[in-house]
């Protein structure tokens, strides 16, 4: 191992452009064993691109990488792995058709006389998960897990493989408080054992609490780099965004007497047992519970993707049958998924087409004209500040945060009567988060009933009027937001009792 204090990775002058558009220019980065090095920056700033270059998933156009004191030359994924660089990319990368156990052991299956040892695979995988305090069935198929569970599995896999550098690209973006806390603890533990950790997150408080060193990127350039203790929230925001960002809770005064969305005795036989929630028009209600509880399963049922065993659904006083997407949409109910890659966007279609995908279908447009489409989509792009390098690329090429903005714009631009928002700011930067919060405020002010299924306590405090606490698939308590503190909220989310 490298002696403490000397860099295990030195990157110098890294530049990368995609077809003429520059994603990184002249970036340098040092990783020191035992340190958490946070990368911060707005969506599209180039964080993921930088770590993809470090992990050999992409090649830089220019620059040198020195690993463990020797020049690394052109990197490949295999080489990075050999050199001890483990990466959890931003996009969940599991083999969805294999079990959790096999995914954890992928590329490193234990064998005896070249035969795969199935029992040992299960045991090692279970061990890897247990070490991180994760409760996931190792025999489940990876494709059946929630995004949060997939993240945890992936972290467990990389940690198990070990190495001297661990790169975590937004590991906590869609995790609940409990899971995030597990990740934090893990990062600290690894640091103590001399691993250099790269940590990417848009949560400033999280970064300030965890990181030793911070590098801020803007438009592909390093704009600030230094020790975490030398900076504070305001400075960080300024260097990332170039201005101050304030997001305060406005007082939304609207008539909240009419019921906008009513879920009654909902049960899906697995995760949800007899859930009843009522959201009035102009109200934002958050469903809160430990990660993996009912809130992450509501999307399937409300959107019509899957039929529950029992229950009623009413939108603005009208009964909506389950399992029928068209009926659900006609009623004005909009469900925004937390899984934008699988259920949200079509990566091959352009940004404009994705933006107008639902809207144009609801308007029953028969013809498709690119110029008009662009004109219709332009206001949405502006409102949601979707940033693209080229005019109208396939949406799959956008940075994660920008994809999320496209997803929200796609649905919230369709005049909802009621909506379900699942982790609406998943992976977006703080400026965009503030924008999105303002947009949700505007929705509520305009009389939309908003059901929020977020795993982020700050977001719940910022947006919700009321919190419904679910445990084991049932609503067990309900609080007005001014009756509960952030800490109590986190305690509830962690599954603890409440005074």
């Amino acid at each position: 191992m490298t002696a403490p204090g000397t860099e295990v990775v030195r990157a110098r002058g890294i530049s990368k452009s995609f077809g003429g558009a520059v994603a990184l220019r002249d970036v340098s980065l040092d990783l020191i064993p035992g340190e958490v090095h946070a990368l911060m920056g707005m969506n599209g700033a180039g964080k993921s691109t930088l770590v993809r270059i470090l992990s050999g998933a992409q090649n830089a156009d220019d620059g040198v990488l020195e690993i463990g004191g020797t020049a690394a030359g052109p990197m490949t994924a295999r080489k990075a792995r050999k050199l001890g660089i483990a990466t959890v990319p931003q996009r969940r990368e599991l083999v969805m058709t294999l079990t959790v156990a096999e995914n954890i052991m992928l590329g490193d299956l234990p064998t005896r006389t070249s035969l795969v040892r199935w029992n040992l695979i299960g045991k090692l995988a279970r061990q890897a998960l247990r070490d991180l305090g994760i409760d996931v069935d190792v025999n489940a198929l990876a494709g059946d897990l929630t995004v949060a569970e997939q993240t945890m599995v992936e972290v467990a896999r990389e940690v198990r493989r070990g190495g001297r550098v661990l790169i975590l690209d937004e590991p906590t973006a869609c995790l609940g408080a409990e899971a995030a806390a597990q990740i934090h603890a893990l990062v600290r533990r690894l640091c103590e054992s001399g691993v250099a950790v790269v940590f990417i997150s848009h949560h400033i408080s999280e970064v300030l609490a965890l990181a030793d060193r911070i590098t801020v990127l803007r438009d592909g350039r390093v704009v600030w780099s230094g020790l975490a203790k030398e900076t504070d929230e305001t400075d960080l925001v300024r260097s990332m965004v170039g201005r101050d960002v304030v997001s305060t809770r406005p007082s939304r005064k609207s008539d909240k007497s009419v019921t906008g969305l009513k879920i009654e005795s909902l049960a899906d036989g697995r995760f949800i047992e007899n859930l009843t929630v009522e959201v009035r028009k102009g109200e934002v209600v958050a469903v809160l519970g430990p990660a993996g509880d009912a809130q992450s399963r509501l999307f399937d049922l409300l959107s019509g993707r899957r039929r529950p065993e029992r229950g009623h659904l009413e939108v603005a006083g009208k009964r909506i049958p389950f399992g029928k997407v068209a009926r659900s949409l006609d009623s004005g109910l909009r469900c925004v998924t937390g899984d934008r890659r699988r259920l949200g966007l079509i990566p091959e279609l352009t940004v404009d087409e994705n933006l107008m995908l639902a809207r144009d279908r609801l308007d029953r447009r028969r013809l498709h004209r690119r110029d008009r489409l662009a004109r219709r989509a332009a206001p949405l792009r502006d409102d949601y500040r979707v940033v693209t390098l080229s005019p109208n690329p396939p949406v799959g090429l956008l940075s994660g945060g920008n994809q999320q903005k496209v997803l929200l714009a796609k649905w919230l631009g369709t005049e909802p009567v009621a909506c379900l928002l699942e982790d609406p700011t998943n992976g977006v930067d703080i400026a965009a988060m503030a924008d999105i919060h303002t947009l949700v405020d505007a929705l509520a002010t305009n009389g939309v009933a908003v059901l929020l299924a977020s795993s982020d306590a700050d977001e719940v405090m910022r947006l919700a009027d009321r919190v419904v606490v679910v445990r084991d698939g049932r609503a067990i308590a309900e609080y007005d937001i001014d009756r509960i503190t952030r800490d109590e909220l986190v305690a509830v989310a962690l599954g603890g009792a409440i005074s």
Binding site: F18, A326, C335
Partner: protein, 323 residues
Amino acid sequence: MTTTLTAPVATRRRVLPRGFAHGGLLLVLVAIVVFAGLRTDSFLSTNNLLNVLRQVSVVAVIAAGLTLLMTAGGMDFSMGGNVAVTTAVAAQMFAHGQSIWLTIVAAILLATVIGLVNGVVVTFTGVAPFVATLATATLLDGVALLVINGLSVSIDDQLSPLGIGKTFGLPHLLIVAIVVLAVIAFVMRYTTFGRDAFAIGGNEDVARLSGINVSRDKLLLYGLAGALSGLAGIMLLARLGASSPGTGGLQLQLTAVAAVVIGGTSLAGGKGTVLGTVLGVLLLGVVANVLNLLQINSYYQQISVGAVLLIAAIANLLQRRRH
């Protein structure tokens, strides 16, 4: 194995003029045309070129339907079988003295129904399209033989205006094919239905959740593929003047599939252009023609077709990758 949407490719493609995506294919096609033009005078004669175009018309119509269907992530391996059944039924109807229009309408209706049956199976049972339509292809080939009872059924010259007629020097078959290709290209580019096909092929779940009636669209797409098979069947019948064992069927199907995939339409759905398909169809037609004109030994003909297909596929990809 899974091919990833490699980013740089797609970004550049927008910047380049359209059609450039098929540069490799175009290059191979032009190379063959130049080579043939130099080696034999007859190749570039108007007559011969019109022949080639008429010869590929039937395949073009099938390939057009297949392009749209495959873009939506579907597959119909039974279009050749459908053609066989349609020609057989139409020939028998003519033989039994039915009128031309009744026969044409009935045949295309039948073909549409066959397509819809495929659609129902694929949409409502979830059997993979390739599997379901491979099964119906086998079945339809049998039905076609049964209908003509294993014998040639001639229709005399009842359809010869379509089969050999020309307007302004253009064979009618070619005109039909051009119209079909143009309509499909228009649908794919300028209608919501066409864009829905891309969406469904790109991610069926997202399409459904976005309010696209995926089941209905799929049925329509399979129905359309069926209808176009029917039309192709009538065209083939008009061209041949008879339905005999071996008309249409798997060979025709494979030619159409080859043309479509060479043209860059993805088997996994979400990507496809009529222009690519047209180039694919032309490539296959021109190669067959050139091999005949150059009087190549029949064993080498198959080898040459295979080799050209391979080269075209590789050239098309390498060319795209360079950007």
